[in-house]
Amino acid sequence: MSLSIGDAIPLFALPDTSDQVHRVDGGAHGKSASVVVFTCNHCPYAIAWHDRLLDVAQDYKPREVRFYAICSNDGARYPRDSFAAMKQRVQADGGWPVPYLRDEAQDVAHAFGAERTPEVFVFDAEDRLAYHGAPDGSSDDPSQNAQWLRDALDDLLAGGPVSRPETKPVGCSIKWKE
């Protein structure tokens, strides 16, 4: 079952594609918001939204928004989503502006209740869930510019509640281990 609006961010410690471990440990981080996106390499929806999501990370980095991309898919059955493939992708792209984290045990995806790629979770400065859903209304339309995510961040950064806190995540199912 997915997190509900207002729920605390699940804690995690996961390696990125440089094997550096990133921790969300409940301690003070001084950030104004946090974005966690479950994504992967092989899914057409995740690929279509990828650049839009990285643009959001770039655009909001100066405003103290932290951003994590997490791949939880079973890399044995889906080799394109293996940790090695994640590393190859980031290297081929010349690096990403966000850490691409490996959730090998899939327990982080389970803790969030994530089901799709991509699936977006936005937390406020107190690490409470403020937005959950899709980046915007259409993976097919780059001009939508991840506007639902941007709106959520803008609402949070303006100090108010998120006006559209939930939308339906659209994408491939997370590939669970059997």
Binding site: C43, P44, A48, Y78, P79, D140, V170, C172
Partner: protein
């Protein structure tokens, strides 16, 4: 005409609607599509299923996948004619495949 899908991918209803729309526009019966679910890795291998949705006309894929594309239960990546990654075949590719099939049938 057949549409193969895997239920873990949300794009097949749209693909089916677009296929039926293309068939109707060409004067074909839109109900003549056999819709079949692929729900196991074994079946994916047997069906040479490289992802959902897969549309075949007279056995030929409307967009031929790369030769090394693995079989399996996954969402399929397509490219629109303007180069975007999309979850269903471009309507122009579906139209072209239908037209090819109609032309080939008329020569039989």
């Amino acid at each position: 005409m057949e549409l193969l899908y895997w239920d873990g991918c949300p794009s097949h209803p749209r693909a089916l609607a677009e296929l039926r729309g293309a068939m109707t526009a060409m004067g074909l019966n839109p109900d003549a599509v056999a819709v079949r679910e692929v729900d196991s890795d074994d079946l994916a291998r047997r069906e040479r299923f490289v992802g959902s949705p897969t549309i075949r006309i007279d056995g030929a894929d409307v967009v031929e996948p790369p030769e090394d594309e693995p079989y399996g239960l996954t969402c399929r990546v397509y490219y629109s004619r303007d180069g975007r990654v999309v979850p269903v075949p471009d309507r122009a590719d579906v139209d072209a495949a239908l037209q090819r099939a109609l032309t080939e049938r008329s020569h039989v």
